[in-house]
Symmetry: C2
Subunit: 367 residues, 2 copies
Amino acid sequence: MEIKELGEFGLIDRFTKDIKIQNTSTVVALRDDAAVVSYGDKQTLVTTQMFMEGIQFDLTYIDMEHLAYKCAMATISNIFAMNGSPRQILCTIALGKRFGVSDLDSFYLGLRRACKKWNVDIVGGDTTSSYTGLAITLTCLGEAAPEDIVLRSGAHETDLICVTGDLGAAYMGLQILEREKTVYYQQIQEYQQKVKAAQDADDKLRLQALAKEKELLDAFQPDFAGKEYLIDRQLKPEARGDMLEVLHTAGIHPTSMIDISDGLASELKHICKESDCGCRVYEDKLPIDFQTASTCEEFNMNLTTAALNGGEDYELLFTCPIGDHEKLEHIEGVHQIGYITKSNLGAFLIARDGNEFELQAQGWSNQ
Amino acid sequence: MEIKELGEFGLIDRFTKDIKIQNTSTVVALRDDAAVVSYGDKQTLVTTQMFMEGIQFDLTYIDMEHLAYKCAMATISNIFAMNGSPRQILCTIALGKRFGVSDLDSFYLGLRRACKKWNVDIVGGDTTSSYTGLAITLTCLGEAAPEDIVLRSGAHETDLICVTGDLGAAYMGLQILEREKTVYYQQIQEYQQKVKAAQDADDKLRLQALAKEKELLDAFQPDFAGKEYLIDRQLKPEARGDMLEVLHTAGIHPTSMIDISDGLASELKHICKESDCGCRVYEDKLPIDFQTASTCEEFNMNLTTAALNGGEDYELLFTCPIGDHEKLEHIEGVHQIGYITKSNLGAFLIARDGNEFELQAQGWSNQ
C-alpha cells in the first residue's frame, strides 16, 4: 500500500494501535502534543540519537525491522550507560517516496520488539517525508534514583577499567557485509557484460541461458557461514541492561560508565576528559571473540584496531574502585582491561611487547 | 572553517560552551549519555518534532539562525499546548558537506535565542552528517502539576472554541517568499540568456555591461513592503506561552488545548477525535490580520482556506466552559470562534451566508 493512501493520521493510527503501555510512569502517550511521564522521587534521564541513511546505516545490508531494533537498542543503551532504567521512547522518522506502508509496518515491528525486550513504552514521535534518504531520530527517557546515577565524570586514579562482552565483532560484521555487497555487485556487472555481448552477437540461445543465470543471481545469498555471530552483532545488537543487574547483585557500583558506540578508545577518552584523568589499557586484556579474530586475519586487518576503534558494540565501559577486583573476577562477561591514572599521564594502550601507544578518539567527521 | 577540521567532539565543545543552565530541574546536561532532569512532584512533558530540508523548510527563504529559532518555537509550542512550562531541549542535526562551522554557529545562536526567550536549557543532542539535505529533530521536556495539564481529549458539548492571535499569516508569508523566489530565478534566467547572446555575438562591451547587471542581481533584495508582518510570522513565529499566563490570571482553565501547526481545521479535528465530539466554527469569527486579507486578495486566494488550512501559526486553540464567555470577552488576543457539539453532528464551518461546510484535516502525506 502507498503511504499517501493512508495519510499522516491514518499512518499514525496504524502504527500506534499495537502499542501497549507497560509503565505506570507513562501517564499520557501518543495522542497529544506531548507525552506525560511521572517519576515520583526518581530522576528522569533523557537521551536522543539520530540515524541517517548512508551514514549510520545502509539499507543494502539491513531491513527495516532490524534497523529499527538496532536504532532502539543504540538509544536505550545510553540510558543503561547512566545506570538507569529505560521507560519511554519517542520516534521521529522521515522517509522518501520509495518507502511504502509495509516498510513502516516492518520498522514499527522492530521498534516494538526492541522496546518490549526492555519494557519501554512508545509514547510519541513525528512522521514526515524526505526528499531523499531515510532519517530517524529516537529519544529515550529513563528513570533512576539520584544516588544510583553513574556519570562519565566519576572515575578516580587507581580505579579499574572494565568492559562487558567482547569488542570489535560488530565492526567485523560490517566488513563481511561490505564484502558480500561488493561480490554481489561484481556478479551483477559481469552478468550485464555477458548479456550485452550476447545481444551484440544476436545469440538467442546464449540469452536464454543467461536468463536462467539471472534467476540464480536474483536468489543470491551472501555467505555468512562461520560468521553468524559477527553478522548478529552488526545487525541485531543488544543493549546491556542485563549486566547492570549482574553488577548490582554483586554489590558493584561503577564510579563512571559509558556505552561503546564509537569504539573503546573514543569512549575511554570521553571518560578521561570528563573525569579529568588518564588511563592505561592492556592490549592482551581486550576481550575479543574467536570469529572476530579469525575474520581479522582473513581480511588482513589489525585486531587491536578493530577492538579499539570498531564501534557499534553497545557494550558497557565502566570504572570501579580497585577494591572490587575480586568481586569482578567472579562475574562472567565482565573484563578488567586496565586502570585509571592521573590526568597528566595521558591515555595509552600498553601493547603485548610493553610499548605504549596513545589512544586515538574518532567521532563523526563531515568528510 | 570546515567542519572536518573541528571533528565531532570539537564541534560539540564549540556549540556547548555558550550554553548556560537556567533551570534547577536540569541536573546533568550536555556531557553524558543522557541528560538528568528532576521535577519533584511535577509531571514531565516530552515532545519531539522533525524538520527536513525541502519539506518543512527551504533554505532559499530562511537562514540557519531563523530556522533554528523557528524549529525551537514549533517544538516548545507543543509543551505550551499541554499548559506546561518548557524546561529542557535536545537537538539532533544532520548536515551535508555544503555546510560549514559558521552555519552551525548560526544555527546554535538561533536555538539559544529561542531557548533563552522561554528559559529553556539545551541539555543534549546528537550531530551527524547527511548525504544530502539538512535534517533536524528537536525534543522538548517540560513540567506541569498534574492538575494543570490540558489534553486534547477534555472538550465537552457546549464548550466554547477559542484561538489566540490571528490565523493564516504565516501561510501568506510563505506565498510571498515563494513569489520572490520565482521572480529572482526568472531574473537569473533572463540574465544568463543575455550573457549567452552576448557571448555568441562576441560583444565585449555588452558583456561588460552585463557584469554590472550581475552585481545588481547579486544584491537582489526581495520586496516585502507592507508584508512585514506576514514574513515575520513565517520566519520568526513565537510560541504563545504568554497567553497561558493571561488565561491563568483571568481564571480560565481550558478543557482541551492544541497548538496550531497544521492549520486550524486539522487541529480542530484532532480535538474532536480525541474528545469524541463535534464542532461548529463561524467563518466570520476567524481572526485574520489586515495584511493576510489584503495579500489573499492580491494573490486571488481564498482567505478562509488560508485561515483554516494555512498552518505554521503556532497559536493556541483551546476549548473552555461556556460560562467563561464573559471573562474571555475581556481578554485581548483571544477570539471565540465557535462551540463544541455532540460527536454525531460532525465538524463544520458555518459560512457567512449560513451554509455549513465540513472541515477537512490535512496532515503530511508522502506524495
